[in-house]
């Protein structure tokens, strides 16, 4: 997919402060930051691959492994924590058989935690792809996942 990365790069000027917007666009396109894309970015911005890894690993948004077909984000903000968000995450880990941060072997879901989705009054919340589910009940999680193949 080098063409897509190139197409992203030409939209930005070669200034170092564009590194994060470029990484964000690459992730939007590929779903993750691939080792090849890092090489391309390095050549384009004339900064070392090390530096790019240094910056990208600093921010929680960037991932370096291929995501699943659906993204599963469990909110562990304070309000969600107080209302059982951690239990929701534990249960999902068990149901899916993967740890937080991993992708299921069948590439159906990738499971991650987020610090806060900003819907604290409706906690606990889980985000699947773009949809946010509010007041999630642990005993209803398996049913919810059935909607996503």
């Amino acid at each position: 997919m080098p063409e897509t990365v190139d197409a992203i790069l030409v939209k930005h000027s070669r200034r170092p402060e564009n590194l994060i917007p470029i990484l964000q666009d690459v992730q939007k396109e590929l779903g993750y930051i691939s080792p090849e894309s890092v090489k391309d970015i390095s050549r384009y911005l004339r900064i070392s691959e090390n530096q790019i890894f240094g910056v990208s690993s600093f921010y929680a948004q960037f991932r370096f492994t291929r995501p699943g077909r659906h993204s599963l984000r469990v909110c562990l903000g304070t309000a969600c924590h107080v209302r059982g968000g951690a239990t929701v995450l534990d249960t999902l880990e068990n149901v899916l058989g993967v740890k937080c941060g991993d992708t299921t072997p069948d590439a159906r879901f990738d499971l991650e935690r987020v610090a806060c989705l900003g819907c604290c009054a409706l906690s606990p919340v889980v985000q699947i792809d773009k949809r946010i589910y509010s007041r999630v009940a642990v005993n209803k999680l398996s049913e919810l996942l059935k909607f996503y193949e």
Binding site: R15, P16, E17, N18, L19, I20, P21, L23, Q24, G54, V55, F58, Y59, A60, Q61, F62, L76, G77, T78, A79, C80, H81, V82, R83, G84, T87, D90, T91, N94, V95, V114, A115, C116, L117, G118, C119, C120, A121, L122, S123, V125, I132, Y133, S134, A137, V138, N139, S142
Partner: protein, 626 residues
């Protein structure tokens, strides 16, 4: 300027026509929380319903009016009648409401929560007289939920950009003077007088100056900034024009969390409208003032809420704080003088410039002027976004506005992970910068999390420390090593393996980190532990001496049991257990295999709400085997 005056006139006329409403208007609260509660589905259903019934109505998506616990909210306004708000609307109740109110012009009073008219209406209470709304003073949030955030004309019709036009007619120094007399302090949490920071930047040498809006609302449990931007983006943008003019900046940047896609979308739309109206770009309103604004998406790092780290992130680097001085007001973004203001600070400015400092001084108390928005969440009955005068007591916020709790009150956390956990004795504490600091907490950006007896304060302190430890950038040793060590000790305590010496170690570590850390993240990180140690020491001791967690939260100290006498053997819990820990044939009491149980609560919830017995599964402290 003339061009805009004309546009304002036409906007006001349009607004009047809109208010008179020849046809029905249906408002749907579609900010992020409304959407999470199902507003998008309701929107589609409303349009379908209108089509099927061959009725016409204006359907408007509005922002958040505050009481999130009532979401989704759908409002109906019939010609010549006040707007009526319906709460917790579902796909089932929506046709009933629309059928009655839009179809037959009869308000469905049973489902209505309030109306927006001036006179009494059909026995429905006035919305702003509701117990949650009445004690509030809405200045920053004045338009939220009332105007269409995607229409600059509606903002202009309610005196939008008037404050900026007033500012343009005076000198930048006069604007700074107005803000000084208003007594505005930074709403990001620290409460530094806004005018002081501005003056330093204004007087700093250099042709290029920057204004950055800090919308990296990283505190878990806080969503005031998101709501304001989604519901009234022009309020923030007008504030940026005013601040940019005052400090002499030509570039503005909104640094916003990538997790807020709707807010970003609304900002971009609003900026396009500003350009069309000559409110952004070169020679704004034919004056000598030129200003542009860019939106920069954050990439998920809590520490970037700190000024110098935020600047590093915009420059494309790791977001690590630098030691100050030099302060950003003298040497900030790309080495130029830079002012970083919080969303709420900027959102307050249009009101101050429009109504004057004396008006603003009517709110709040000496030294703490004006209002503050809070996201009131946790175990209170009425949760949502609120705005109160500084100097309001915690009791008023929790009981009058929040409607109290269902179970007894235990604690309130102010200021997010950097704040403190206050006990019942502080309920009459007034919310202002100094009082909260004296109690060991901070104002912070405005998250208020209320907790009842089901929350374990030790677990909560561990949660916050775990958060700050993970978010620590690792630059300075006290924060990097210290917070990690504190988490280890807290984990030991929640596992029931703590000792009395651990409490002393926590105290010492906390004090050291507060004194030694480089930036605000580290300096405030120990607050949740230090305050809980001070106000809830007994709970720590119970975990240590009795291996008991009274809130039955700490997993290693609790177990799930079936009460044989109560269990009807309905098998509901067997079906939901993810590990197969619950077994037992139908109609016979079930059994929990404690070695398999992961304490996920599924069975407990199922038994209470879906099973026959209802209370056959209990969570209790681990019984000591002797």
């Amino acid at each position: 300027m003339n061009n805009l005056t004309k546009r304002i006139e036409s906007a006001k006329q349009k607004w009047e026509v809109f208010q008179k409403n020849e046809e029905p208007i249906i408002y749907i609260g579609a900010a992020s929380c409304g959407r999470a509660a199902g507003a998008v589905q309701l929107l589609a259903q409303t349009n379908r319903w209108l089509k099927e019934n061959e009725l016409t109505a204006k359907v408007v998506q509005v922002g958040c009016i505050g009481p999130c616990y009532l979401e989704p909210l759908v409002d109906v306004q019939m010609p010549g009648q006040p707007r009526v708000s319906y709460n917790n609307v579902t796909t089932k109740t929506l046709p009933v409401i629309l059928g009655s109110h839009v179809g037959e012009s009869v308000p469905y009073t049973k489902g209505a929560i309030g109306h927006f008219g001036k006179e009494p209406f059909n026995g429905i209470p006035r919305f702003f007289e509701l117990p949650m709304l009445k004690p509030q003073v809405r200045i920053v949030l004045r338009n939220c939920g009332l105007i269409d955030p995607e229409q600059i004309d509606q903002y202009l019709a309610v005196d939008g950009y008037q404050g900026f036009m007033n500012a343009l007619q005076t000198s930048p120094d006069d604007v700074i003077g107005v803000v000084r007399r208003a007594g505005l302090r930074g709403r990001g949490g620290a409460g530094f007088p806004t005018y002081k920071k501005w003056t330093v930047c204004r007087n700093a040498p250099g042709n290029q100056k920057y204004l950055i809006c800090n919308a990296d609302e990283g505190d878990p449990g806080a969503f005031m900034n998101r709501s304001l931007i989604e519901s009234d983006p022009h309020a923030l943008l007008e504030g940026m024009l005013i601040a940019g003019y005052a400090i002499g900046a030509s570039h503005g940047i909104v640094y916003i969390r990538a997790e807020y896609p709707l807010a970003i979308e609304r900002l971009n739309e609003a900026m396009q409208q500003m350009k069309d109206y000559g409110l952004l770009g070169e020679h704004i309103l034919d004056s000598a003032f030129s200003f542009d604004i860019k939106v920069k998406e954050g990439a998920g790092a809590f520490v970037c809420g700190e000024e110098t780290a935020l600047i590093g992130s915009i420059e494309g680097k790791r977001g690590m704080p630098k030691s100050r001085p030099p302060f950003p007001a003298i040497s900030g973004l790309f080495g130029c003088p830079t002012i970083i203001n919080n969303v709420e600070t900027l959102g307050t400015l249009p009101n101050i410039l429009r109504n004057g400092p004396d008006w603003y001084n009517r709110f709040g108390k000496e030294g703490n002027r004006g209002t503050k928005t809070f996201s009131l969440v946790g175990k209170v009955r009425r949760q949502g976004l609120i705005e109160v005068q500084l100097g309001t007591s915690l009791r008023e916020i929790i009981y009058d506005i929040g409607g109290g709790l269902q179970k007894p009150f235990k604690a309130i956390q102010t200021g997010g992970p950097s704040g403190g956990c206050l006990s019942e004795e502080f309920l009459d504490l007034t919310v202002d910068y100094e009082s909260l600091t004296a109690a060991g907490s901070i104002m912070g950006s405005g998250g208020l999390i209320v907790m009842d007896e089901d929350t374990c304060v030790v677990d909560l302190a561990k949660y916050f420390l775990d958060f700050t430890q993970k978010e620590s950038c690792g630059k300075c040793t006290p924060c990097r090593v210290g917070t990690r060590h504190m988490v280890e000790i807290l984990t030991k305590i929640t596992h029931g393996e703590g000792s009395a010496e651990d409490l002393l170690a926590l105290r010492t570590l906390g004090d050291t980190i507060k004194k030694g850390a480089l930036c605000g993240l580290g300096q405030t990180a120990p607050n949740p532990v230090l305050t809980t140690l001070r106000y809830f020491r007994n709970e720590y001791l119970e975990h240590i001496k009795e291996q008991r967690c009274r809130a039955v939260v700490c997993k290693d100290l609790i177990e799930y049991r079936v009460i044989k006498e109560k269990c009807t053997g309905c098998q509901s819990c067997v079906k939901v257990c993810p590990t197969g820990a619950i077994t037992g044939p139908r109609s016979e009491p079930h059994n929990v295999d404690k070695t398999k149980c992961i304490k996920c609560r599924s069975c407990y919830v199922t038994c209470r709400f879906e099973a026959i017995a209802g209370d056959a599964i209990v969570i209790g402290s681990v019984e000591k085997r002797s």
